[in-house]
Symmetry: C2
Subunit: 437 residues, 2 copies
């Protein structure tokens, strides 16, 4: 009875659409030789889901396949009351490793590292080191390609790549071939900074040390790819004016999709209610010159768009470590200049449009020149202000200790909308007094 | 005469502030033992800038330090007329490699790969392979940790990791230890897809083959970190409503900063001019009921914010490969439901606000109930429409063959602003006929 085999890529294609039980069924139909790679390639969340759906015996098999840093990630994805039972399935040594990792915040270097790195002693020869690593090749070390030279107190003295060992004469002491100016990170450092340091120095692995300089583990570059991708997704979603989803879009339930969006949308709405109050203060002006109301959406959206550009630029540059808090003064000067020029460009476009429409259709009555200049001057003011406010808000929010990505573009737009209205109507009062108003 | 030495991290701190000549000066003050790592860690653009500033002899030294894929990137950063002179500085073999790489688009697998990978033959024994790789450890291969087994026509038959070799008995044939189900990419595949495939399969290196299956090079995971970071930055900047900067914010000149922003800002402004036309069609209604104008910013920004959420979510999910074009029908149903619920929430908030303000300040006159329901019903319509339009626009743009990130959030907001006004004033005509209008 030949059973139909699924290929892993067929399974991957339909994966998002399957229920928990269907996933297990599909998984059982995959060629056993490929099933392990497939399982290892799943996200921690999917692994957790599968483990909880499996029968106990099978659960142990697949849990033990995972290296300790992955087990820690997976365990953090299951409900608190089921964690102990999962940890029970590990052998004692692994359980100790995982428990140690669980003590770290998920998004710190300690939560990202693997404790299974290759340790060498400075007094070993190159030949001994190679033979030692060769024995380790069958063990479950994260990598044998980078080995760390530790003293008797587990403090990091140096690092050698396997390649260095191969290129060096066999009887040299490690102390003489190892690189001693090792870049390492502390276990409490946040994962974004770890990613940044590794990218900056083009490292494939970085050692993690505790506050006393004792080495605790390594973070490898493949973990960093996930971090970079995930952090970018979070920032993009926050910039889009919502909470970060944490799960892929298609796997997020409708209820949680709405929850993640309703909060910020309501906050923005309540902020935007101020525009109704602001407009209310200029009710008389609108009644006397309805024409002024026609340009309200144009004015405020121009401020919002320019603010959104500025805030996006600054937040991304901050996330990449290109700018820090102390750069604010240089940035405010650049953005003031950029905002003014952009405002002048839009003002010119607005002026042309009003004058052309007036010539063609007489749309704006006898005071069209006053209206045209009110719109143009307001645009310069609103766009300059929107740009400066948009670029500075991330600094303010970061100074207050919060995540600047939450200074999302729509939030800036809302802030700028209210002030844009005030600018516009006051320019109108000034330029149109005695004619339209 | 002891010269003051700069550390590389001191130099890196001030790097962005230095002119071309100052960079060379600073670079010369760095400990020569660390200068090479510093140079290798610079971006292709910075390397190109430094090479062009250096004296010819020094230029050759540093250019030859770079592996061929980095030379290709760097050469692409210098003006066309200076490229040939740079290529002349390479030895013949390297120049051939670099010229071959330059034929590929910068953002394709072929433009990202290194041609210096370790090649083995299936009929070699494990022991021969290890000895061969050991000799290669001193050569300038991209990595010796993954070796590719090729047949006589350079077609890829399998892959072995160094670790596999170490764990296998010495006399086994490579044909018997190698993994034959190798995941590879074609040289024309775009780099985002390469990054996605490597992340999905947790690969540290991926072979690149031409259309005939002949192996051309490898892409390693450290290149992918840069790709992921750069692509996220581009997407974020496009979502912010501008062209991608291509250089770090602080190193972008004011002129180019303005250019990258003015284009989209002007397009959005011209689109937004339609709001003035739309408002013009409802001039009579505004004249009769100024109160309607007060809520215009509230209504359109709510549509814009909800559209911006939806478009951000979909564009990111597309970039991560979580959703494809054929998912549009499932997404439109989800977003329709989400948009409706979000609209109802905002409508409720709006209703409460108007009723409370009316009770407290009599702000909205005798027809306040009609106004309140006009605002509430419009909010449901505008938010639902904004959400659906925001989620579908990326599909339309992608279907047309363009980059969905260009369906930037402000672009959606502008689209939704115009249609939001039409919805609002038509709901008003319907609900307020005979009372306010």
């Amino acid at each position: 009875m030949a059973e139909e085999r699924l290929t892993t890529s067929e399974l991957r294609d339909v994966w998002a659409l399957l229920s928990g039980d269907e996933r297990i069924d599909g998984f059982h139909q995959v060629d056993p030789a490929e099933a392990d790679d497939f399982f290892l390639g799943l996200s921690a969340r999917e692994q957790a889901q599968m483990l909880l759906t499996m029968q106990p015996g099978e659960r142990r098999l697949w849990l033990r396949l995972l290296p300790p840093d992955d087990v820690a990630d997976t365990v953090q994805q299951v409900p608190k009351e089921e964690r102990a039972a999962l940890l029970e399935l590990l052998d004692d040594a692994s359980r100790r490793e995982v428990t140690a990792l669980l003590a770290y915040a998920e998004d710190a270097a300690g939560g990202l590292m693997s404790p299974r790195f290759a340790r060498l002693r400075p007094e070993m020869t190159v030949d001994e080191a190679i033979r030692y690593l060769r024995r380790q090749a069958r063990e479950r070390l994260e990598t044998i390609y980078y080995a760390y030279v530790l003293d008797h107190e587990q403090r990091l003295c140096g690092v050698v790549s396997f390649r260095d060992l191969f290129a060096a004469p066999q009887n040299t002491l490690l102390a003489d071939v190892m690189h001693t100016s090792v870049i390492s990170v502390e276990d409490t450092l946040d994962q974004e900074s770890v990613a940044r340091i590794m990218a900056q120095h083009d490292l494939n692995a970085i050692p993690v040390v505790d506050e006393n300089g004792r080495m605790k583990g390594i973070v490898t570059i493949d973990d960093v790819v996930d971090v970079v991708q995930r952090e970018a997704t979070e920032d993009i979603q926050k910039l889009g004016g919502m909470e970060a989803l944490e799960t892929p879009y298609m796997q997020t339930s409708l209820v949680s999709l709405i929850k993640k969006r309703a909060g910020w949308l309501s906050i923005l709405f309540i902020g935007e209610l101020l525009t109704a109050s602001a407009m209310g203060r200029y009710q008389d002006e609108i009644a006397r010159a309805v024409i002024l109301a026609l340009f309200v959406p144009l004015i405020i959206s121009s401020g919002g768009n320019s603010g959104s550009q500025a805030t996006t630029l600054i937040i991304r540059a901050m996330a990449l470590g290109e700018i820090t808090l102390r750069d604010w003064w240089r940035i405010i000067r650049r953005e003031l200049a950029a905002g003014f020029v952009l405002g002048v460009i839009l003002a010119a476009l607005g002026l042309v449009r009003i004058l052309v429409w007036q010539a063609a259709f007489h749309s704006y009555g006898e005071h069209y020149l006053g209206v045209a200049f009110t719109v143009a001057v307001s645009l310069i003011g609103v766009v300059t202000w929107g740009t400066v406010a948009g670029s500075m808000l991330p600094f303010v929010i970061r100074r207050l200790g919060a995540d600047p990505a939450s200074a999302s573009a729509p939030f800036v737009a809302t802030l700028v909308d209210v002030s844009g209205l005030v600018i516009y109507f006051n320019v109108g009062r000034l330029l149109l007094r005695g004619s339209l108003l």
